[in-house]
């Protein structure tokens, strides 16, 4: 219990004094996860819309696979990415292992199924409303996907935020592919794992509170940008 209290006060002081190491790893956490989120959204949102709009033979199977892959164990993703990026692996010549880029790759793989699945669920409802209209206007498939993504943007924001939540708190994969190198690939979650290993629970908890605080801040910021949940809008 005393650990919890001293963790809170430590988090408070680190935030108040803008501890240099803390700022560095927090910014790195944000950079890695936001980069992964942007890439994953570019892939997953159109994929979700396409799955709602288009009927093809393997559609059911694709949806079932995406749903199943939402629960992809991060540490396994990390291991597979590791094996591919290792110097003795197929992509070893690129020298990407133990770099922030490798961490981005792992996080993209982890969150694409999650974002695509949620996006598909949301857009499916919208598609049933829009179906007759869009068909009668003789729109192309691209236009339909465009219309769905734009009109469903609030629901898609939720999908993206779910992806952000999963990626920012993830430790298994980025520990394996990033290696938790000080000043290079150390992010908040791997730093927490490290401090726990040293038995410094107060500092680990402090970092944990910072992580939670940051996740809330990012969510609020995105809502401000997206102007959601305001009076007179929905």
């Amino acid at each position: 219990m005393s650990d919890l209290l001293s963790g809170m006060s430590q988090a408070f002081w680190m935030l108040l004094t803008l501890d240099a190491d803390l700022v560095e790893i927090t910014l790195r956490s944000l950079r890695v996860t936001l980069t992964a989120l942007v890439i994953a959204s570019v892939v997953a949102l159109p994929l979700g819309a396409l799955l709602a709009v288009r009927r093809f033979r393997a559609r059911r199977l694709t949806i079932a696979m995406l749903n199943a892959l939402m629960g992809l164990p991060p540490v396994v993703v990390g291991l597979v990415v590791y094996v591919f990026l290792s110097r003795s692996g197929p992509l070893g010549v690129m020298g990407l292992l133990f770099t922030p880029t490798a961490m981005v790759i792992a996080q993209v793989i982890i969150i694409v199924p999650l974002i695509a699945s949620i996006a598909h669920q949301a857009l499916r409802e919208l598609w049933s409303d829009y179906h007759d209209l869009l068909i009668s206007l003789n729109t192309t498939q691209f236009q339909r996907v465009q219309a769905l993504i734009w009109d469903g943007r609030r629901a898609l924001l939720t999908a993206a935020l779910a992806g952000f939540g999963r990626a920012i708190g993830e430790v298994g994969a980025i520990m394996v592919v990033g290696g938790n190198i000080d000043h290079h690939t150390r992010v908040l979650t791997t730093a927490i794992a490290l401090e726990t290993g040293k038995g410094d629970f107060a500092l680990a908890l402090g970092l944990g509170f910072v992580l939670i605080f940051m996740a809330i801040a990012v969510n609020l910021a995105i809502h401000v940008i997206g102007r959601t949940e305001r009076e007179g809008r929905w």
Binding site: L27, R31, L34, G92, H184, G197, K198, G199, A221, V224
Partner: protein, 264 residues
């Protein structure tokens, strides 16, 4: 407000990474947890300009990283595994740098009476005879290998409910031992630097078989042409220099010397 936030996101995404003379070295958890790395690395940077990136792993994984060419050098403490590494042609040579020692940690009440043991083997035998809970690293690290060789020399096969292999690093294993009030073998440095001692205390140390030699092994550039052999050579020269000697020998926690420099 909106514009500021957009700008913030953009700057977070775009800020790049500075490139310096970087090399990667895999080190054991015990070396890093001791806190010595925090003393040595800044000095290395100041003297040689090399930015050493540490991958903190068990000896088993460190050697794997060296074999795959994912690091430029390794600093580990398991002579047998090191010799196998060299035999496979993955490293150019082995340079002994320093040593520390292993100690036995256990509950303050010391129910197995390790304090009365006259050798490390006798201490382990006492634990096995009393079936006192014992936490093992169980992760193929240098410490784990050492522990297994000590069980073998004590003629005991550790087996049963009291023997708990956690498959984790030194710190995590110490946390487990503190939680269960169990015996554990640790390197002295990790123990002294450990923050969650709970009801545990140092119960046995001093047997010469518990000495723990650290060696530096550069990865062979003939096998992995991309490794920074030049930086590894520079780093090795620094590690055996008088500056390193003074820093290593002077490093103390609570007044206790942790490492003894013995490079030739």
């Amino acid at each position: 407000m909106k514009r500021v936030l957009c700008g913030l996101f953009a700057s977070v995404l775009l800020s790049g990474v500075a490139v310096a003379d970087e090399m990667r070295m895999a080190v054991t958890t015990s070396f890093h947890n001791s806190g010595l790395a925090d003393i040595l690395l800044p000095q290395i940077k100041a003297d040689t300009g090399i930015d050493v990136q540490l991958l903190v792993v068990g000896t088993g994984q460190a050697i794997k990283l060296g074999e795959a060419g994912d690091v430029d050098a390794i600093l580990v403490h398991s002579k047998k595994a090191e010799q196998k590494f060299l035999k496979g042609g993955f490293g150019t040579h082995r340079r002994e740098i320093m040593y520390n020692d292993f100690v036995f940690i256990g509950p303050k009440s010391d129910s197995a009476k390790l304090a009365d043991a006259n050798s490390a083997a006798a201490a382990l035998k006492a634990i096995a005879d009393t079936q006192s809970p014992f936490v093992s690293r169980g992760d193929d690290s240098g410490t784990h290998k050492k522990e297994l060789s000590l069980w073998a020399s004590a003629d005991v096969t550790p087996d049963g409910d009291w023997y708990k292999a956690v498959g984790a690093g030194m710190g995590a294993a110490l946390n487990t031992a503190a939680g269960m009030n169990a015996y554990i073998m640790s390197d002295r440095a990790s123990w002294l630097n450990f923050g969650n001692k709970g009801d545990l205390a140092l119960v046995y140390s001093g047997d010469p078989v518990l000495f723990n030699q650290y060696a530096f092994l550069p990865v062979n550039p003939d096998v992995h042409p991309h490794v920074r052999a030049d930086l590894a050579a520079k780093l090795e020269a620094w590690l055996v220099s008088d500056t390193a000697k003074d820093l290593i020998n002077a490093y103390k926690i609570n007044g206790e010397t942790l490492f003894v420099f013995n490079a030739e």
